[in-house]
Symmetry: C2
Subunit: 519 residues, 2 copies
């Protein structure tokens, strides 16, 4: 990658698990249970959790085995009734028929973000018929952070379950930071090209031009970016709709475009040149993530006229993009009180041909800065249950500062919880199996299995060990919460033993009813 | 309190606020804004956050000014069309008409847990027509913790917003621990008398008797416990319904009663002596919290036959308790996937005369031990939106160990978020005002105001200061997340300035349309 960076990342298996590859090379996190059984989990972490992998960050990850640099887009090929290598991989990964993958992509209800120039990435799908996905934003700002830190955050985020990464760098070395992330990322990488375009003109929105923006997009397509946020739905006419808002325009891309339009008194160059953008993205199979530049930035502004005016325009743009064979997803809010969440999904599906919805939270209240991973996990779970396909995480630092490594993990875990809660509520076939396996381990006091099946085995074990660190406590029939005498699960097991005994007596004494079953 | 304990607690105002008492003595947390305005918030923290209060833990809090040790229960007096001193206090605290308080109590849709013998407590109400409340469980177990720690946790929990406290001690010094908590608690205190009754017989459930249980209840009523969890709905006939469950009986009280019934082959002594219990509780105006001893302990067991059989019995008991003039609330699950949550509220209201529902979470998934404050805040927000009146918090240590001070705060904050999100969704008149005030402070870069209006000003400020500690950054028009050039809120303010300028030009040039408002 030309420039050496002194980067280190976390490697090695997650506690209690090992990397397992199916015969066709699809990765799973295999949990080894003390019963001798194993349990395979969807695994986003790439070779970094493979004990046998040799990681060389300077060289980047090897291209995926047998990858063909395809021509055409997954959408075009799905329409042609082709099941691509990526679709077959995804079908096995999700545990669904390959034909379902193809048909959802063909219909535009799912996208496979897979730039021909990002062969390091393991194929994944974003669509409501599949497991709910989680994106983690990383990237530096002018105030803080280095390339090495961002590569570390990328690996760290995928370790804990990020399905995609967005590199939102706005500080120095934008191109090189992205190069390091792309070459080492086992998951699709998204960007907002506007940020680099703005840096190129010294940070003055009014100086941007379509030509330099377009060249930035091409530069990023060439590098291998898998999906791009484009705020082409923010039109000049919508700016006045934001004037009486409590928090105005809170999308960075949206505010930049608004500033440009107002300065030039012209319609957005993104909107006016959208077809040319489509032609560029189609060449690389880069997926559009149509940005919601006018998303609400507070509870007060949720579901307002500005937001929904832009959503209608995103619907128009979806039709155009798909006519060029480009895959599309639609970005959504932001900040929305619970009772207004479902309406967002319903409208998005109606206006945007059911293109996958990709939402930021939403935060269900604004009163908890420093805890917005929680305020937004509530909204995220509800919006995902209603049909959102991918959730963009929010970290505890949201609104306050740039997330560090700990924040990234906290954000990813909170969002894996929201995504999984939604998978359960949607009846995803594999979701409840994991809950049931963990619950049974809990009931049977298989503490190691309980930790290994959890989202974060390290922290679960650490919390348990704070009060009962000794190894025998890992098989003890209680924990420090209730102590031995008050452990309901132990008592329940005693009850079951007693009932089994009674049941046997019952059989031995001629099957008379042994419990008065009246109320 | 006879025995001196070396206890210390956190005192002093929450950052950016001071204690304010209305002319009638109702407490508020008054936030002082940099605009010169102030904003009053509901305040659960008692005298501990009053800079002028003298705290003496050995003596306990003074009785509330002007309190009359009432006779009768709030329910009986509400039915007699009396607006009690407690109702008037609550009406002002909630910002609603006193008649609403009275009528909701009379109808049994709200309870005011206020034992005549707990004069230190500030009156509060639990009911769906009012703000959603949060309970924090504290208490030692046989394995860990001391009286001093539990008193500290009580004060700490109410500082961050716990509306009631349950002392679930099961270890040594149960009576004395409770005495220390009660005499120092500004909020109602709940207990599960079964735990002490079991300790009295050496921890063997089969040795319990109705007489010793009853004496324990009287002992706790005399001390001033405001509400008691009684698992009188677990009947002998329901035990077989739990046998095929993944996690059996997970309520401690439920499992203890099941063990007793099975050992004696008799119906529950709680169920059989329920009328006598009612007579005792009526004398002190202690509120029933009818326990859900058969609540599900895993996603797999949610909404099953055992759970709903018990709920029907709780409905019968509600009618009996109310016929004795005793206030009643109903406890609810536990572990429930999102799509099965609302059904719980609907059934509870139907079967239990709309008595206030008081739920533990529920956890929306089981796969995240160490993060169950988040898994359950999702379920809690949804169930509260559907009508649950009080949420029992869950801390990060749930299922793993006894919560410490940090866990208590994390649990309370997560649940204040869930409760507030529900208040917003239910249209509670005061809820959105706080969101709007904070959002506006955010938009106007009034960082100190943003912190002061938040649930946890200390942590919000700490996170902000990690990257930008200097005082000038507290008025800077950006933070480290995006840096100055990419701050959407700053750009929006520029846009508004520009539009205001244009608007003036427009007026000066004869009111020609200055923006092409076509799409």
């Amino acid at each position: 990658m030309n420039v050496a960076v002194d980067a280190t990342v976390t490697t090695g298996p997650i506690a209690g698990s090992s990397k397992f590859y199916s015969p066709t090379g699809v990765p799973f996190r295999r949990v080894h249970l003390s019963t001798g059984e194993h349990f395979d989990l969807y695994d986003t972490s790439g070779p970094y959790t493979d004990a046998n992998a040799v990681i060389d960050l300077q060289k980047g990850l090897p291209p995926r085995a047998g990858i063909v640099r395809d021509s055409g887009t997954q959408l075009q090929r799905a329409r042609n009734c082709e099941i691509t290598a990526e679709m077959a991989f995804i079908a096995e990964r999700e545990g669904v028929p390959a034909e379902l993958v193809r048909s959802e992509v063909a219909r535009g209800r799912a996208v496979i973000p897979a730039n021909h120039n990002h062969p390091e990435s393991e194929p994944m799908i974003i669509g409501k018929a599949f497991g709910v996905k989680v994106n983690a934003n990383i990237g530096n700002s002018a105030v803080t952070s280095s390339i090495a830190e961002e590569v570390d955050k990328m690996v760290w985020a995928t370790r804990w379950g990020a399905d995609t990464i967005m590199d939102l760098s706005t500080g120095k070395d934008i191109h090189l930071t992205r190069e390091w992330i792309l070459r080492n990322s086992p998951v699709p990488v998204g960007t907002v090209p506007m940020y680099q375009a703005l840096e190129k003109v010294g940070g003055d929105p009014t100086k941007m031009t379509w030509e330099s923006y377009r060249d930035t997009v091409i530069e990023q397509c060439e590098q291998g970016v898998d999906y791009m946020t484009v705020h082409a739905g923010v039109k000049l006419a919508y700016i006045p709709l934001t004037v009486r808002r409590v928090t105005g325009i809170v999308s960075r891309g949206g505010s930049i475009m608004a500033a440009w339009m107002l300065a030039h008194h012209r319609e957005s160059f993104l909107y006016e040149n959208f077809e040319e953008l489509c032609e560029i993205l189609a060449r690389y199979d880069v997926t559009f993530s149509l940005g919601d530049g006018l998303r609400p930035g507070s509870i007060a502004d949720a579901n307002d006229e500005a937001q929904f005016a832009e959503l209608r325009t995103l619907g128009e743009l979806t039709t155009i993009a798909k006519s060029h064979g480009v895959q599309v997803m639609i970005e959504g809010p932001g900040h929305v009180p619970m009772h207004k969440i479902v309406e967002n999904v319903r409208l998005e599906e109606e206006l945007c041909e059911e293109a996958p919805f990709y939402t930021l939270g939403p935060l269900a209240t604004d009163i908890a800065p420093a805890y917005d991973h929680i305020t937004s996990a509530i909204g995220a779970a509800i919006i995902a249950q209603a049909g959102t396909a991918m959730l963009c995480y929010v970290t505890p630092k949201e609104h306050l500062g740039l997330p560090d490594r700990k924040d990234v993990k906290d954000g990813v875990i909170a969002y894996r919880i929201a995504a999984h809660a939604a998978d359960l509520a949607k009846g995803h076939p594999r979701a409840q199996q994991r809950d049931d396996a963990l619950s049974l381990a809990r009931f049977e006091f298989r503490w190691h299995d309980q930790f290994a099946l959890s989202l974060d085995p390290d922290t679960a074990r650490e919390y348990h060990d704070e009060t009962l660190p000794a190894e025998p406590a890992k098989t003890a029939h209680f924990c420090s919460m209730c102590g031995p005498k008050f452990c309901s699960m132990r008592i329940t097991q005693d009850i079951r033993d007693a009932m089994a005994e009674k049941s046997q007596e019952f059989a031995e004494h001629g099957n008379r009813v042994y419990l008065p079953l009246t109320s």
